[in-house]
Amino acid sequence: MLAGENGAGKSTLVKCIAGIVRPSSGQIEGNVRIAMVHQELSLVDELTVLDNLFLGKEQSFLGIVQKGLHLKMANELLLEMDYQVDLGAIVKTLSLPEKNMVEIIKALLQRPDLLILDEPTSSLSPRLTKILFAQIKKLKVAGCGIFYISHKMDELKEIADTITILRDGQLVLTEGFHKISMDQIIKAMVGRDIEDFYPSKEIGPDDLTQLKLKDFSVPYVGSEFGRDYFVYPTDLEIKKGSVLGFVGLEGAGHSEFLKHLYTHKKFWGDKRIAFMPNDRKGLGLILNSSIEKNLTLPLITESSSWKFLRLNHLKNRARDISFDVKLKYCNLNDEVSTLSGGNQQKIVLAKWLMMNPDIILMDEPTRGVDIGAKAEIYTLIRNFVAQGKSVVLYSTELIELMGLCDRLMVFHKGRITGEFTDITVNESLQEKIMQKALGVADESESNQKHWDGESSFAGSSGVDLGDLSGVYI
């Protein structure tokens, strides 16, 4: 078990072991078959599942690929795992969890002596995670070494024997897992206590209304969810100086709510609204452009089109804002793609802060961001609303929402089913919120099944019961 913050060097270490990256010094001893499940999916979208499973490891006779043998081997493993996937399907038609599973099966097919898993469960549902863990336990019994990298602490509890923690490329500790407490682990990862992980919730200067939405609805064309609206007509008030959190399962309507509000200016009144999308690389940043150019992009689009750009002014603004958000960088001209996920996310946030909006809508602002940067982003958010501004955010991590928000709205099937104020992080509240999100107040077991079905039906990934209850710090 290997743990550590983003950028601590976990992925690089295992890539060295698997022979993808050459270590700059030192040697690796031993002669074993190593298979690796990569964090970034390493599948070829245009090929079929079967072709992907055996890519680079084809069983062939005189170069002619033996498809029958491939099929037999794959089916044997699938049977053993009790998992089904259409081997003939083109990979790009699969959902993200299915792709993730294919990636795992691809590694298992090599029958390795050492299996390296780099955050394999990032998009797996609880059911699939269970299948994976069952397989890992079988491999452990069979004498296969497992190298498991994860952010998720509850996973560690289930399968880890020993834990190794890296921080900034340094080995911090290696210890038997049951000999060490959760707090010690977190402290070792972050390098400091994080008792004040969530900044204190000072209510802003006043309790006034920032924006009032009346009869706000998001129509839905189609029948997947069996309803006419993503969000049924509803009234909502966004208060000044407060953080409003949305809770809900995938398809409950919260993220459509945010997108619809942002794309339809008629709802804005006289307010300025910014939107932080959850797809940082695709929608939030120009990856191969410089930090400065990314930061100042909103300023340029704001300035009148017949003027030349005042480059010095832009540079100063970029420098000031990067200082404000504690961005770690060498040079403002560096490409954004060279920064860690946390720093990239800070740029996205800083960009919108520079526009000085009244409301920022955030879709999963801390996705793929390490613990240290998370805490800093939380502080930035609280500082922002302390100026009488507002933030509406959605996150898959309920604990995070509870730690950060002043008010929570729970969505279920397009309707707001609950509203909570005076939120503190505690389990009984968490349970109440989850029940509202599931739409019923009892028999969470049967609900989970129901939800699983809906999830696969919608062909979507990401949010599900497991994530909501996942205790992540």
Partner: protein
């Protein structure tokens, strides 16, 4: 019909392999010219046997192709630039070995008169029609190459690697696919096929023209794309390219049969390329 498009079809087949790996080869036209000249010199002037001449031509194509491939994969030069350079270089080479003149039966004597020597039999053999004139040897070669290539792409593991490298280079590398080798192989095969096309061009014209094949690469690319192979790589195939070859071929034929002037014909061809690509995209979106 096949006979007229065979040369382009062979070029397009090689081009398909390169484009599948998300590359492009602009040098095929020049390599065709070089091969045509070289073949003529070897057979007509030097009276070499057909087999040896063909082997030397193919080897030349292979070397130039492998060179392009190495520039692209090892030295990380963009395919467009690497093969543009190769295009200029190969054309220069063709002009150098031919002295800038067409190589044909007519030989200039020392006193300024011309005499004719016989064309070697290989010209006649490759240019003949068989099966009661139903099929030409040139067409057979094209069809053979295309079918063999299609089978290779589907059933051979290297064929699959072409698609994998074009689809996701990083993923292929991680999976153990020899990415650089596959890229070099694609340019190498493309070079060989360009050399084959050059030989056939020389045979059909009865001479080796150092200017032959100018802008042929663009036609070949158009044929590949009309067939539906994605310029981004990873999607498409050889059978699709044959469809593209025939589309452009028939188009040209229909238009010239109807005595449409060349200017109009070119404009129509341009429009049809756009239409075909739009149709392709619509198909892949749904």
């Amino acid at each position: 019909m096949f006979r007229q498009v065979a040369v382009f079809g062979i070029l397009a087949s090689g081009m398909t392999l390169v484009i599948l790996t998300s590359g492009i080869d602009l040098a095929v036209g020049s390599v065709l010219g070089l091969s045509a000249v070289l073949f003529s010199i070897l057979t007509i002037k030097m009276q070499m046997t057909a087999f040896a001449a063909i082997a030397i031509c193919l080897a030349t194509g292979a070397v130039l192709g492998a060179l392009s491939g190495t520039l692209v994969s090892k030295l990380k030069i963009q395919p467009f630039m690497a093969t543009l350079a190769m295009m200029v270089f190969a054309r220069g080479l063709a002009k150098w070995i031919s002295g800038g003149k067409k190589i044909s039966q007519s030989v200039e004597n020392e006193d300024g008169t011309f005499s004719f020597i016989d064309l070697p039999s290989v010209f006649e053999f490759l240019d003949q029609k068989i099966w009661n004139g139903q099929m030409s040897v040139v067409s057979l070669i094209f069809i053979g190459i295309a079918l063999l290539g299609a089978l290779f792409l589907t059933y051979h593991k290297f064929g699959r690697y072409f698609l994998a490298v074009g689809g996701n280079e990083e993923a292929s590398k991680i999976s153990g696919v020899p990415v650089d080798g596959i890229k070099i192989l694609s340019y190498l095969v493309c070079g060989i096929l360009a050399a084959v096309a050059g030989i056939l061009q020389a045979v059909q014209e009865g001479q080796g023209d150092p200017e032959a094949g100018g802008s042929y690469e663009l036609t070949a690319i158009a044929m590949v794309v009309i067939g539906g192979t994605s310029l981004m790589g990873g999607r498409g195939g050889l059978l699709l390219t044959i469809f593209g070859v025939l589309t452009i071929g028939y188009l040209e034929k229909i238009l010239s049969l109807n005595a449409v002037g060349e200017s109009t014909r070119l404009m129509l061809t341009g429009s049809i390329i756009v239409l075909a690509v739009l149709l392709q995209r619509k198909k892949s979106l749904t």
